[in-house]
């Protein structure tokens, strides 16, 4: 039915622009894209408006109430107030901002460690020839074929025997070097001219100095893309914090907001306000790094 609608629309456009099929086509293109953008964005708009609506009118309107109805009774910060007020737990009162800090800390720490280890590995595989390189790369490619879930139970036992239960070590250490990332870095570092590296070597630069001062600044776009991917992955990680962390004040946003569905059963606005707060940091990072991100993703797909 929708297709018929668009076909009809196209006919009308052709009738309006009898000479110019190009213009009619372009109009239709923008209409279709506009519809897609509307469908994609409406949940976000709905989320923002729900977070600010009073619980009495939450279900009354699809988005915000009409302007004539605007008042502090319909639009206010009650949801945020309830959310930020804190809740009692075994370890005393825990505030929502603590979870935000936990999530920020974990995602940033994981990203920094990962960037360092992964880019070093990628550099070794891109600019050196050594015995065993092929074996390592084949091993890496093979290891990517196994689903991460296979390792969940054995790693859980290891974390337990290391005494890392309820500790951030459990979330930071096991994934501190990404195989996928090493391939990405290798791919962009191969393009760095060898002459540059040779020249630095003749000038007496150390091998680490060459990696850190010459090669890393040249692969800035890939670094941006990798940081964003890693930050998002850790920020949105649910299963790790869910199985390893126990103390309420150590939890991260995905785990806590999932709990809140059960806690605030009749106050959707509260956990929607929390969800809104939880998607702001990755959004900021994405807008800052989106150019690098798209470039990094595309090069990976086309050449890989």
């Amino acid at each position: 039915m929708t297709l018929l609608l668009f076909a009809g629309l196209y006919m009308i456009l052709r009738w309006v622009y009898p000479r110019d099929a190009e213009i009619a086509g372009a109009c239709l293109r923008y209409i279709l894209l506009g519809c897609a953008a509307f469908l994609v964005l409406s949940p976000f708009v709905w989320l923002v408006s729900s977070a600010f609506k009073d619980k009495d009118v939450l279900m009354q309107y699809s988005f915000l109430p009409p302007i004539s109805e605007w008042s502090t009774r319909t639009i206010n910060l009650d949801n945020f107030r309830t959310l930020l007020n804190g809740e009692d737990s075994v370890v005393g009162k825990v505030y929502f901002w603590e979870y935000v800090v936990n999530s920020l800390f974990l995602a940033s720490a994981a990203t920094s460690i990962n960037l360092f280890f992964t880019s070093m590995g990628g550099y070794a595989l891109s600019k050196y020839t050594f015995r065993g390189k092929k074996v390592i790369m084949a091993f890496m490619a093979g290891s990517m074929m196994f689903p991460g879930m296979l390792f969940l139970a054995p790693i859980y036992r290891m974390i337990f025997s290391f005494g890392w239960m309820d500790s951030y070590m459990a979330l930071l250490v096991p994934g501190a070097c990404s195989v996928f990332g090493m391939f990405l870095f290798r791919q962009s570092m191969v393009a760095v001219p060898d002459s540059l590296i040779e020249a630095a070597r003749i000038d007496g630069a150390s091998e680490f100095g060459i990696y850190y001062r010459i090669v890393m600044p040249l692969v800035r776009p890939m670094t941006g893309a990798f940081c964003l991917i890693t930050f998002l992955g850790n920020w949105n990680n649910f299963i790790g914090p869910q199985i390893y962390l126990q103390t309420q004040s150590k939890l991260t946003l995905p785990v806590v907001l999932n709990q809140y569905i059960g806690v605030y059963t009749q106050q959707y606005g509260v956990f929607l306000a929390g969800t809104l707060l939880a998607i702001i940091p990755p959004a900021i990072l994405f807008f800052a790094l989106q150019r690098e991100f798209v470039a990094g993703l595309s090069s990976g797909a086309v050449k890989g």
């Binding site: 280890f117 590995g121 070794a124 689903p147 969940l152 290891m158 995905p254 999932n258 569905i261 595309s298």
Partner: protein, 292 residues
């Protein structure tokens, strides 16, 4: 051997040390341990008793496992089949025209992918509210049906709801891959075909499509592998696995057995079965499209 070349020989291994240490401790050892664990019964992380094949026997005799495999397969097949033409279609729409417009729409269409599955699940658990939810209202005003449908609590509607949400999350993401591939299509070939009198559809079918085929295969295989590991989205969207386990996936089944019942051995056995399923499915896919 002089000093520089010895330094050169040692350098790559120094750079690779973090990877080698981490992969030995957190990949090779758990890999071997997963084999060992699959033949043991555990009750929590400490105890382990050898039970032979009985973990596999339990899983393969459990109707819930088959339900999970069925649900996950339906989800993977249907969502990938719908996603693919939508992503490619949007990429084609964006491929021509001004680059500023392209960047804006690419940004918009990609944005859902920033939101983690748990957050998306929370969001849509309210969007699907009967009578008041955004989806139900939108559907009612568009097609005149669906205001009172209980998407998340009637067994037959859970899977369609999951697929709809996954489309929202992944169509824009996959579009980026297609768009990148389309930008690399050889324009001279397209021009030549146009000059020879090929129409738009013929150009797309004979010139464009063969050139973006590698990326299409990449997208299909990666989406399928990703779909088979679905867990967080239904878990938060349905607050568990839904009515009559209609939203139970393979990883959900693994999670319940390993971490809610505390039987890590069964968890490892399910992990192996999952790996086997993913291997089989992706090698079949590569075989089908790779033969031409």
């Amino acid at each position: 051997m002089n000093k520089t070349s010895r330094k050169m020989a040692a350098a790559p291994w120094c750079f690779l040390t973090p990877y080698i240490v981490l992969t030995s401790v957190f990949f090779i050892y758990p890999f071997l341990n997963a084999i060992w664990l699959a033949f043991h019964q555990t009750n929590g992380p400490r105890s382990a008793v050898f039970v032979g094949l009985s973990n596999f026997r339990f899983v393969l005799g459990d109707p819930d496992f088959y339900k999970a495999v069925k649900n996950t397969t339906i989800f993977a097949v249907v969502s990938v089949l719908i996603q693919l033409p939508l992503s490619l279609g949007l990429a084609l729409l964006l491929n021509t025209g001004k680059s500023r417009v392209r960047n804006l729409f690419r940004l918009i269409l990609f944005s859902p992918h920033l939101v983690g599955q748990i957050f998306v699940g929370i969001l849509f658990s309210v969007i699907f509210t009967p009578r008041f939810g955004l989806f139900n209202r939108g559907l009612q005003s568009l097609v005149g049906w669906g205001l009172d449908e209980r998407w998340l609590s009637s067994p037959g509607l859970v899977m369609p709801a999951l697929i709809i949400v996954s489309l929202w999350m992944y169509v824009g993401f996959n579009m980026i891959y297609f768009l990148a591939a389309l930008q690399n299509v050889d324009e001279t070939l397209v021009e030549a075909a146009r000059v020879d009198g090929a129409n738009r559809f013929q150009v797309f079918w004979h010139i464009t499509l063969p050139q973006i085929k590698p990326v299409a295969i990449f997208v299909v295989v990666m989406s399928t592998i990703g779909s088979y590991q679905l867990f967080e989205l239904p878990y938060s969207l349905l607050g568990g696995f839904g009515p009559n386990n209609a939203g139970l996936t393979i990883v959900g089944y693994l999670y319940t057995n390993a971490f809610e019942s505390g039987d890590l051995g069964t968890g490892a056995a399910i992990g192996w079965l999952l790996a086997l399923i993913i291997f089989t499915v992706s090698s079949i896919q590569i075989k089908i499209v790779g033969t031409e």
